[in-house]
C-alpha cells in the first residue's frame, strides 16, 4: 500500500526476512500472499545462501522456477568469495541477476555512521567508505570471471562510483542503483543523534553525494531504488548505537528524485522516469516500464509542480522512520494504476 501511494506499481522484496527466503516454498507463499493482499505487483528475490548463513547455496534453481527475479544476500555480503563465485556461476544458468549488498564487516567494525569529519565532530564510530568499496571491487571481478549479470545495490561512495564507471568502460555487465537519501542528504544530518538518520549504507559526505549525482547524470547509475526498511518508533527513539539501521522510502522516493535531481537540473524528467521504471524493468527482464498500446496498464500520474512538506504522520506505512519529516519537496503522486485498476485516486489510496 505504501508502494502504491508512492507511485510504485511493481516492487521487489528482499529475502532477508524471518524466515529467510531460501527455497521455492517460501517464494510460492510470498506470491500467494501478494496476490491476495497486495495492491501492486510483488517480485520476490531469493537469498544466495541458506538462511543467509554464508555456508551453502540456497535452492536457487527451484526458486528460479518458482519465479524469483534475482538472488541477493541483502543485509550483508556473502563473506566467502569462493562460495559467491559458485553462486554466480550457478545463477547464470537460470539467467538470474545477482544483487549485491556491499559491506565488509571486518572493516565496518562497530561503526554506525559515515567515517569522516562529521563522525569526528560528534564522536561517533565511523563506517569507512572502503568497507563498501572492497566488496564492490570483489564482486565486479567475480562477475567478470563468471559472466553473471551483476547489480550493485544502494551504492553510497565516490569510490564505488569510480569502480563501476571503470567496469562499464571495460564493457562489463554491471548495473548500479542508488537510494534517494544518498543523493538528498549528507552525514551532517546525523548531528542531532536522531536515529532516523541511521541507515546502511550510512549517509555519506558531501563529496560522495556530489559524485553520485554526477554518476546519475552520466548514467553510470541507471536505477533509483528505495531500500525500504520499516521500523517501529521504539527501535529509533533510543541510543543511536542501539537503534536499528533503516529508512522507509517508498512514499518519498519520487518527490526526492524530482526535488533533488530534476529541479536541480542533474537529470531530465524523462531520465528520472527511466531510472525509476524503464531501467529496473529491463534489469529484471520484465515486459514493463513503457507506455505503449498493448502493454499492461501499470501507470503512475504525477503532478511535478505540487510543493509540500513531507509529513511522516500522513504515511500509509505504519512505520515513520524517515529523516525527511518536514522536508520541503516538489512532486506528488496523483494516480497509481495497476493492471488497469486505479489504486490511488487523486493522491488518496482506494479501499
Amino acid at each position: 500500500m505504501a508502494a502504491a501511494k508512492g507511485g510504485f506499481t511493481t516492487i521487489c522484496c528482499m529475502p532477508n526476512t524471518n524466515p529467510v527466503v531460501d527455497n521455492e516454498i517460501l517464494v510460492e507463499y510470498i506470491k500467494m500472499k501478494a496476490e491476495r493482499e497486495a495492491v501492486v505487483n510483488v517480485l520476490p528475490i531469493g537469498s544466495i545462501t541458506k538462511g543467509q548463513k554464508g555456508e551453502e547455496l540456497s535452492n536457487i534453481g527451484l526458486m528460479a522456477q518458482a519465479g524469483i527475479c534475482a538472488i541477493s544476500e541483502d543485509g550483508k555480503s556473502v563473506e566467502n568469495a569462493g562460495l559467491l563465485k559458485k553462486a554466480m556461476k550457478y545463477a547464470s544458468m537460470f539467467n538470474l541477476p545477482v544483487f549485491s549488498h556491499c559491506e565488509d564487516m571486518s572493516l565496518v567494525g562497530g561503526g554506525v555512521m559515515n567515517a569522516g569529519e562529521m563522525a569526528q565532530r560528534i564522536g561517533m564510530k565511523g563506517i569507512s567508505a572502503d568497507s563498501e568499496e572492497v566488496i564492490v571491487a570483489r564482486d565486479i571481478i567475480l562477475a567478470r570471471s563468471t559472466g553473471v549479470k551483476l547489480h550493485i545495490c544502494h551504492i553510497s561512495t565516490e569510490g564505488s562510483v569510480q569502480l563501476i564507471r571503470e567496469a562499464k568502460l571495460r564493457g562489463e555487465k554491471v548495473t548500479a542503483e542508488v537510494c534517494p537519501h544518498h543523493f538528498s542528504l549528507t552525514d551532517e544530518a546525523v548531528e542531532g543523534y536522531d536515529a532516523n538518520t541511521k541507515m546502511n549504507p550510512p549517509l555519506r559526505a558531501k563529496k560522495d553525494v556530489e559524485s553520485i549525482k554526477k554518476a546519475l547524470k552520466d548514467n553510470i547509475i541507471e536505477i533509483i531504488a528505495t531500500d525500504h526498511a520499516p521500523h517501529h518508533i521504539d527501535e529509533k527513539n533510543c541510543e543511536y548505537d542501539k537503534a536499528a539501521f533503516g529508512i522507509v522510502g517508498l512514499e518519498t522516493a519520487l518527490a526526492l528524485g524530482i526535488t533533488h535531481l530534476v529541479e536541480e537540473d542533474i537529470i531530465s524528467p524523462l531520465e528520472l522516469i527511466e531510472k525509476m521504471s524503464t531501467n529496473p524493468a529491463k534489469l529484471l527482464g520484465i515486459d514493463k516500464g513503457s507506455l505503449e498500446v498493448g502493454k499492461v496498464a501499470d501507470i503512475t500520474i504525477v503532478d511535478p509542480n505540487e510543493e509540500y512538506l513531507i509529513d511522516a504522520n500522513s504515511f500509509v506505512s505504519k512505520s515513520k522512520n524517515t529523516p525527511f519529516n518536514g522536508h520541503k519537496v516538489k512532486g506528488k503522486v496523483k494516480y497509481t494504476i495497476v493492471a488497469g485498476k486505479i489504486v490511488v485516486d487523486n493522491g488518496e489510496l482506494m479501499d
Binding site: 569522516g116 563522525a119 564510530k125 548531528e191 543523534y193 538518520t197 558531501k206 533510543c238 543511536y240 533533488h260
Partner: protein, 332 residues
Amino acid sequence: MLENKDLLGIKNLSPFEILSIIHTAEKMKLRINNKKLRENTLENYNMVTLFYENSTRTKMSFTMAGKYTGARVTDLGVATSSVNKGESLVDTGVTLDQMGFDIMVIRHSMTGTANLLARNVNASVINAGDGINEHPTQALLDLFTIYEKKKNFKDLKVAIIGDIAHSRVARSNIFGLKKLGAEVVVCGPATLIDKNIECLGAKVTTDLKEALKDADVVMGLRIQLERQKGGLFPDLREYSQIFGVNKDLMKYAKEDAILLHPGPVNRGVELSTDIIDGEQSLINEQVKNGVAVRMAIIDLLIERRKKDEVTNTKWSASESFIQDRWEKRYTG
C-alpha cells in the same frame, strides 16, 4: 551563567561559559578546603546519578559535589535497577523526571545518550561521559587545573598523548582548549588516532618528542588493554617503550610544564612512576578540582533553573532542538 538547560558537551559551550564555570569552581574549591565556608545553598534540589558504565571515581566526585552544595543526591544503581530488566533509557528518564529530579547525571558507553535523555526530560542533564564523544566535566576540571597554574590559555601548547581515537577526554579537551586559544597536539600510535581529528583544530603527530617539544601542558591518557586485543597495537611493553612518557622525555617540554592525567593511571605504561609522583604532576590536584568544577556546574545549572522558575518557562527540550536540526539537514 549558562545558556542551556543541560551540560552535554564542551562543543556547545561558549568561551564565556567555560570561563564562568572555571571562576565559579575557584569559589567552590574554597568550600572544600574550609569547613567554615560550607553552606547548603541547594538543599531543596534533587540530583540523581545514572551510571550505565562503571566509574567509581567519577560517580563519587559527582556525589561529593552534590553533597557540598547541599543537594539531595541519589544513585539509580543501574546495575540493580529495572534497567536490567530491559527498561529503555527514555522510559527511565521520563520516570525519574516525574519524580521531580532537577539534575540527572548520566554516564553511558554509547555516543549521544546524554542528548537523548536531555531531549526527553525537563531535568537538567549533565553528561558524565558518552561513548567516544565527550566527557565535558573532565575537560572542565583539566581546564580549571591548567588555569590555576598558567592563568591564561592563549598560545599555551598542550600535548595529549595516548589513545586519542577512543578518548572522549581528549575530544572534550580539544574543543575547550581551542576555544580558549591554546594550541593542541595529539600523539599516539597511528591506529589510535583518526586523522580526521585535525578538523577539530588539533595537530596530529606520531612522534612523541615532537609532541612534547616546548609543551606547557602534558596530558597522558589511560591506555585500555582491550585495544591490544582489537589489534590496534602489539602489546603494552611495546606501547610503553614507544609512547610512554618518562622523566627524560619530560625534558623536551618547557621547564615549568605541568603533567595531567584523568586517572586511574597505569603506572609504568603511559607514564613512569617518577613523573606521576614528581613535582610537575598535578594528578592529585585534578581530583579535588574535579569536585569543585562539578559543584560549579550543579550550581550554575540550578541558578539557570531558578531563573526559569521565576519566569515560569516550561522546558520543552525537543521542539526547538528538532526544529533547528531540519534547517541543517537539507543539503539542497
